[in-house]
Symmetry: C2
Subunit: 242 residues, 2 copies
DNA sequence: TCTCAAATAACTGGATACAAAATGAGTCAA
DNA sequence: TTGACTCATTTTGTATCCAGTTATTTGAGA
């Protein structure tokens, strides 16, 4: 446990210190590492997180790992059961639906607030992102680009905390969908809806834009969730029929 | 540190264990304790939280205290600065305004969803709470009763996560206002607005009810915040002029 | 062979002790 | 007065030990 020669060991002082100028604490680094692995799906829903294993993998002691797990629990990424340990938390279908409803409400409001302030520059930037989404066909890039597109339209509302909250909901919901089923309704439909949204904003039709955005989110969610249900049923069938 | 005979020592296993049947972990108890003290204003904004002091006060070691602080940080109640320690976090005026705006959006939506399902029983319960608020003149009871009134009208919407989120925002915003200035516009106006809200729900006028609720929240916030500003300016003046 | 209970192992939660790192205050000299 | 330096305080991290709980295995009896 001394040499910490494991493959995934945390970066030495030099690397992270140099970039920020301010060295993060070990537990904060552990949080970042684990969050990344969870959000990326590397640690799938339901995975057991053993303190000792994580500690040795990362080359740290158990204390910062425990603190990291507590923090991740507060973020909703893991579930801590007393004396049983940490498990990467899942989200029920109901929870997912609710998350999307909250997003629809808050994003609709953000767009409404931003619209009077949106400028041609913002529209151009948003459309550039649509183009980027059309050209970058890697599935992994998509959800980030999609968020940036949306965020571009909300930014002028100047509601940083709301934006952060929505972003958190966005990431937390998205990770539950395996990559293959994320692109709801295909890229074409997404592009079409996104372009349409920008167009409505340009026209200055607040009500129509909000309506379109809300539908975009909720219908997307419905498709996504029904696919997830199908996938889970299939998995359950495979499991029992095996 | 051995005898743990301090006044605020955590309850022995017996008391909390008996009620739930499942003993909470020490760090969870510490979280509860600290959250309570912060939300009640006992630990005011900006207060330094010394690990060792808290640990000895509560009769526990530093480990659960640190874990608790990390969790509270994730909840937004304290700010952790590396190597400087934990401070009860404040909220800027901008943050407060934003919090109320989010509440207005989400609560408006909750009410809309709940309205078709609300029954005479719910109205009666809500009105009973209004009466209770009129008779219980203790300032400390008020914010809890107020929340219960609102929650009663949202409960049928059956959106537990949204309700929890809103509740968190509610508490987190409220604690920043010292007790004396909490009752915006006096009890009479509050009662009037609450009764009016119930009446609009009874009539089934969804749009009017939502509008009234939103205004109720946002105007209340504005009054509250302007008072807070005045208070802070006064404090600043006292400070420099002393 | 199957089932259930006791023994055992594994893991988490917590306490304590100690080392390391960083901050802030104070000191001292230029 | 300014600036560098030292030092006490505090947080952070590690190691070790122990207690309590859960999971697993073992073994006896049916």
């Amino acid at each position: 446990m001394t040499s910490s020669a494991a493959s995934g060991t945390l970066a030495g002082p030099a690397s992270s210190e140099a970039s920020t100028g301010r060295r993060k604490t070990t537990s904060a680094q552990v949080v970042d590492r684990l969050r990344e692995r969870i959000l990326s799906g590397d640690l799938p829903e339901g995975a057991q997180l053993r303190q000792e294993k994580l500690a040795s993998e990362l080359g740290v002691s158990r204390v910062p790992v425990r603190e990291a797990l507590h923090q991740l629990e507060a973020e909703g990424l893991v579930t801590l059961v007393t004396h049983k340990g940490a498990v990467v938390s899942g989200l029920s279908v109901d929870d997912l639906e609710e998350t999307y409803e909250i997003r629809a409400q808050l994003e609709g409001w953000l767009l409404e607030q931003a619209m009077p302030i949106l400028s041609e520059r913002d529209y151009a930037r948003a459309e550039a992102l649509v183009v980027e989404m059309e050209s970058d066909l890697r599935d992994e890039s998509w959800s980030d680009l999609n968020w940036r597109f949306h965020a571009t339209l909300y930014a002028p509302a100047n509601r940083p905390r709301t934006l952060e909250l929505v972003h958190k909901l966005y990431r937390n919901a998205y990770r539950h969908f395996p990559l293959p089923i994320r692109l709801t309704g295909g890229r074409e439909r997404m592009s079409r809806e996104h372009r349409m949204l920008v167009e409505l904003c340009r026209k200055g039709d607040v009500a129509a834009a909000r309506e379109h955005l809300t539908t975009h989110i909720l219908l997307g969610a419905r498709t996504l969730i029904s696919r997830l249900k199908a996938l889970r049923q299939k998995e359950a069938a495979d499991e029992s029929g095996r």
